[in-house]
């Protein structure tokens, strides 16, 4: 009995440190769109399609492009496109 209390107390002492976790300030910032312009301008030969990071970026940016062309009827987006 006593033998068990001692290590428990010792641990309690060790653990008597604490930090309180507030919700991180970055959480739930407004969703941002991927900034693909610079990446998509790179010549295709320079991209290594076997690299998972590059592949993931290509995928993300292609979806983004498709979204833009599909919603061409949308006046706001159309305006946006004329700037390019």
């Amino acid at each position: 009995m006593l033998i068990r209390i001692v290590p428990t107390l010792a641990l309690a002492l060790l653990f008597s440190t604490t930090t309180s976790a507030h919700s991180p300030d970055k959480v739930r910032k407004q969703a941002k769109k991927p900034q693909c312009e610079a990446f998509l301008k790179k010549p295709k030969e320079e991209m290594d399609a076997s690299d998972p990071v590059t592949r993931a970026m290509m995928k993300k940016c292609e979806v983004e492009q498709q979204d833009q062309t599909e919603s061409k009827g949308n006046a706001a987006l159309e305006n946006d496109e004329h700037h390019h």
Partner: protein
């Protein structure tokens, strides 16, 4: 008989001292008051031995799929970067104010101190450890248990993402982690 009495007496004294210390209010509780080297060592050893044991039997899935980087990246940016940083951000209020400090996950494993505490070069063990920590959190530290609210799949995706994080530049990080318009409802 006498020896037993003396031992018992000593043990009681120890307990009394311990409890007395708890009630005395002498322990400095502030996160800005650092541990002694020996307490730090004890806590770290306790943490690493415990996690190692608890994560032993977790089986690591294939983390090669590039889709994992997209789902894990967006989640990391929403939930983790405030403490564990991101390319181009070298400190935040949380990364500076928390104690124990959240390791900088944009630094490669060799640079931040507790990635391979036992000099293990066992890649799977490192992945299991990270998965376990993200899922269960770490007691008496700022690290939350994300398993309460997230599936194992999403947690593995974050594990996959943080393997790549040290290599990413700001542009790559931005693209991988941005939640595009196509992918807004995905969270929580």
């Amino acid at each position: 008989m006498k020896a037993i009495k003396i031992t018992l007496g000593l043990i009681l004294l120890l307990i009394a001292t311990g409890v007395g210390f708890l009630y005395s209010g002498l322990y400095p509780m502030g996160a800005d008051d650092r541990h002694w080297g020996v307490s730090y060592w004890a806590l770290e050893t306790l943490r690493e031995r415990s996690i190692k044991r608890a994560s032993e039997n977790i089986s690591v899935p294939d983390l090669g799929d590039s889709d994992l980087l997209l789902s894990g990246g967006a989640d990391y940016n929403d939930m983790c970067a405030g403490c564990h940083l991101q390319p181009g951000v070298s400190s935040t209020d949380l990364s500076l104010g928390l104690y124990p400090a959240p390791p900088d996950l944009t630094a490669s494993a060799d640079k931040h101190d507790h990635a391979h505490p036992f000099g293990e070069h066992d890649w799977d063990a490192a992945l299991r450890r990270q998965f376990w920590i993200i899922k269960h959190g770490i007691k008496a530290s700022g690290m939350p248990a994300w398993g309460e609210t997230h599936t194992d799949e999403r947690i593995w995706a974050m594990v996959a993402f943080i393997q790549k994080l040290p290599e990413l530049n700001e542009m790559q990080y931005q693209i991988l982690t941005a939640r595009g318009e196509s992918d807004q409802g995905g969270h929580h």
